[in-house]
Symmetry: C2
Subunit: 131 residues, 2 copies
Amino acid sequence: MLRITKIADYGFILLVYMANRDRDILYNAKDLSSAIGIPLPTISKVLKILTQGGILKSQQGSKGGYSLARPASEITAAQIIEAIEGPVAITDCSGAKGCERNCKVSPSWKKVNATLETTLQNLSLAEMAKG
Amino acid sequence: MLRITKIADYGFILLVYMANRDRDILYNAKDLSSAIGIPLPTISKVLKILTQGGILKSQQGSKGGYSLARPASEITAAQIIEAIEGPVAITDCSGAKGCERNCKVSPSWKKVNATLETTLQNLSLAEMAKG
DNA sequence: GCCAATTAAGACCAATAAGGTCTGGTATGC
DNA sequence: GCATACCAGACCTTATTGGTCTTAATTGGC
């Protein structure tokens, strides 16, 4: 399959939604849930992960909520995927581990991984929101 | 995650192994299993899938076995992944379906998918075997 | 023509990961 | 101090993947 997970999917939907509006607005989980149509507990999980990954910042307490940690132009697709799913790589190679599997088979994988990573690093949230 | 599956992994190991040897040799599943160190039933499954996908051809009966369907230079990484895991795409978009999820969020995904696909199409089995 | 060897195909089970839910805790504002 | 809303983590259910097994079909050799 080679696909990103549903959680990452939701993350992008969420972030594009927020990027298309005023950055200073605080969105609470309930409003986002009804606006986007994702179950509240699930969207809450996504918000938590994105906050831990530094993509969003949260404001606790009454009248609290979530907002983008940086301008959308400074958030890249690579950062988002990395926050949710870990390092971007088609194969296990690029990690700290000795890349026991694929790289031994062929160093060509490194090139493929590098190309993908570069592509995602050059794609900002602002650009995605425009479409 | 975003990784290829283990079955695809095995496929590449297998194909690189075969590409590094004489193309006309017929390999049976048992020999490949002991040579590469993958359990026989599993490697048998991989061989079957690759044969159905047109990457390998098989010779039935006694003294039968598997061999590459084409020269290694004419087999691409994209073809191999597609045979094992279906169409190459990070998101659901590129398929025949109306791409209900990501493409609605952003057409930028199309560009990412296209880049990845091009990279994999330009990577031949022969090139991978050299490394 | 019969038997042995080998692939083909598909059903089947087990393990893992993902998706989604729930509960208790903590900080903030009124 | 009380209500609101986020925070954190455990938990369960389901889907996918990985791996195994069984039966059928085909070919070569005796």
